[in-house]
Symmetry: D2
Subunit: 140 residues, 4 copies
C-alpha cells in the first residue's frame, strides 16, 4: 500500500448527537458515512474548490462504491475527529479514504469512490482544473 | 373543533427500525415527521394525484409550519399506524393532521401546513384541479 | 410575550450537508429539529450540566411537544446559526425556543417542551440542582 | 463465488420518500444502508427469530464491516425491492448480502458482516440456536 502522507487531507471535529445514536447507545453505523461527507466537503473547500462551486459549474461527483470498517463504537456526546484523505485519482475515478478517531484511538475507517457526471447524469473525465484540486499538497 | 370524520384520510403501517431509535430505546422524535411524510404521500396518491405527479407539473408544496405532541413512545420493532387527514384547505393553505397509533393506543399527534410554490419557489394559489384532490371523499 | 433577553441562550454554527437537503435543493424540514438538538445540548453544556451528565445521573428529558415555522429555506452548503433559548421553566416543564438564521436573516423558528423522567421512564419534578442549570444568566 | 441460490433470503419493498433523496433528486447513498437493515430484520423474522427477540435474550449483532456499490440511482417515489441473503456463517461471523432492484433492474448491491456481542459488548461465538436461524432453507 502506498503512503498517503503527502496526499491532500483534512480533519473536522464532530460532537455525537442523540439523533445519531441507536438503542445500543452508540453511533448508528450509517451515520459514519454522513460524517465522511462532512470531512470530504471541507477537504474540497480547503483545496480550493467547494462542492457547491462544482455544482454551480454543472457537475456532480456521485459515489459509485463505499465501504467502512467499524472497530470501536463512538458513544453519545463523544468528540470525534473525521479525516478525509484524497488517496488517488485517475482520469475517471476519485478515491477518498476516511479515518474516524477519538483522542487518537482509531474507531472507524472507510472509503468512497467517485465518478464525475454532468447535471444530466452523463459520465465525464475529470478535467484538469478539477484534477488539480485533488492533487495539491496540503499547506504546511 | 370541526369533525374530520368526512375528510380525506389514509393510514399506512410502519415497522420501527433500529436506525430510527435513540439511546433511550424508543423512536427519536424527528423521525415521526418522516412518518408523517409517508402517510401524506400515500394520502395524495389515494386521492388521485401523487406528489411525484405534482412535481412533474412544476409545483412543490413546502411545509411552512409543523408540530407534534408525543404522548407515548414507540419502541424498536413496534408496528405502528400513521394516519394522515386533510383537515382543511383554503386557496393558499393546506392543513394536514396526523395520528400515530400502536394497536389503537394513540402515541403521537401532529400537523403540517403547506403552501403551493412553483419549481422556482414562487407562491401560487391552489388551482381547482389541485384543490379537488384534497376535497374528495374517501372511498367507502 | 415576555422578553427573553435575559434568559440563558447559546448559538452554534452548522454548515448544511448534502445529506440534509432534499430534491428541492434545500434543507429537508425535519433536519431543523436535529439542528435544535445541537444547539440545546451545547446550551446545557455552557450552563454547566451536559445532557450526558444528566443521563449519567439517571435522568432523561424527553420532548413532549415540538413545533417549527419555516420562513425561508437554507440551501446546501449554507453556514447557518442555530440559537437555543431557555425561555421558561416550571417544576414539571422546560420550554426551549430556537432561531435559525443565515447572516442575520431569520430562516426558521421553533420550540421544544420537555419533561423529566427517570431511566425507567417515570415522571419527576425538576430538582433544584437541575432547575438552576436553566436559570443561570448567560455570561457577559 | 459460491451460489447463494439455496441460502436464506427475503425481499421487502420500499417506496422512496422525499426525506431520503438529495439535491440531485435521487436516493442519498447512506439511505441504502438503512434499507439493508429493513430487509435484514425481516429476513431474521421470517427465519424464526426477530432481532428484537435476540436483544431480549441479551445479545446484539453489530456490523463490523459494510460496503455498497451504486450502479443506478433510485428516484423519488420509486418502488424498490431490497433483498437480504444470508450468504455465509462461521462460528464468529455472519455475512449478509443485499440487492436493491427496481422492476428487475439492479440498482445497488451491498453487504454487512456481523459479530455477536452481549449487552455489555463482549464478543461471543454464535450459539447453535442462533446459527440455525441463518441456516434454515427458505420455505418454497
Amino acid at each position: 500500500m502506498e503512503s498517503t502522507v503527502d496526499r491532500p487531507r483534512l480533519s473536522v471535529q464532530h460532537r455525537v448527537l442523540y439523533a445519531e445514536c441507536d438503542p445500543f447507545g452508540v453511533v448508528y453505523n450509517v451515520n459514519y458515512l454522513i460524517f465522511f461527507e462532512h470531512a470530504r466537503v471541507e477537504l474540497m473547500r480547503a483545496q480550493g474548490l467547494s462542492y457547491r462551486e462544482l455544482k454551480e459549474r454543472g457537475y456532480e461527483m456521485p459515489i459509485i462504491e463505499t465501504g467502512a470498517r467499524f472497530k470501536k463504537p463512538a458513544d453519545y456526546d463523544d468528540l470525534i475527529t473525521i479525516t478525509a484523505i484524497c488517496v488517488k485519482q485517475t482520469r475517471t475515478r476519485l478515491f477518498i479514504e476516511y479515518e474516524v478517531t477519538r483522542e487518537n484511538e482509531l474507531l472507524t475507517t472507510g472509503f468512497t469512490n467517485h465518478v464525475l457526471v454532468t447535471r444530466e447524469g452523463e459520465l465525464r473525465r475529470f478535467p484538469d482544473w478539477l484534477a488539480e484540486v485533488f492533487e495539491r499538497r496540503p499547506q504546511a
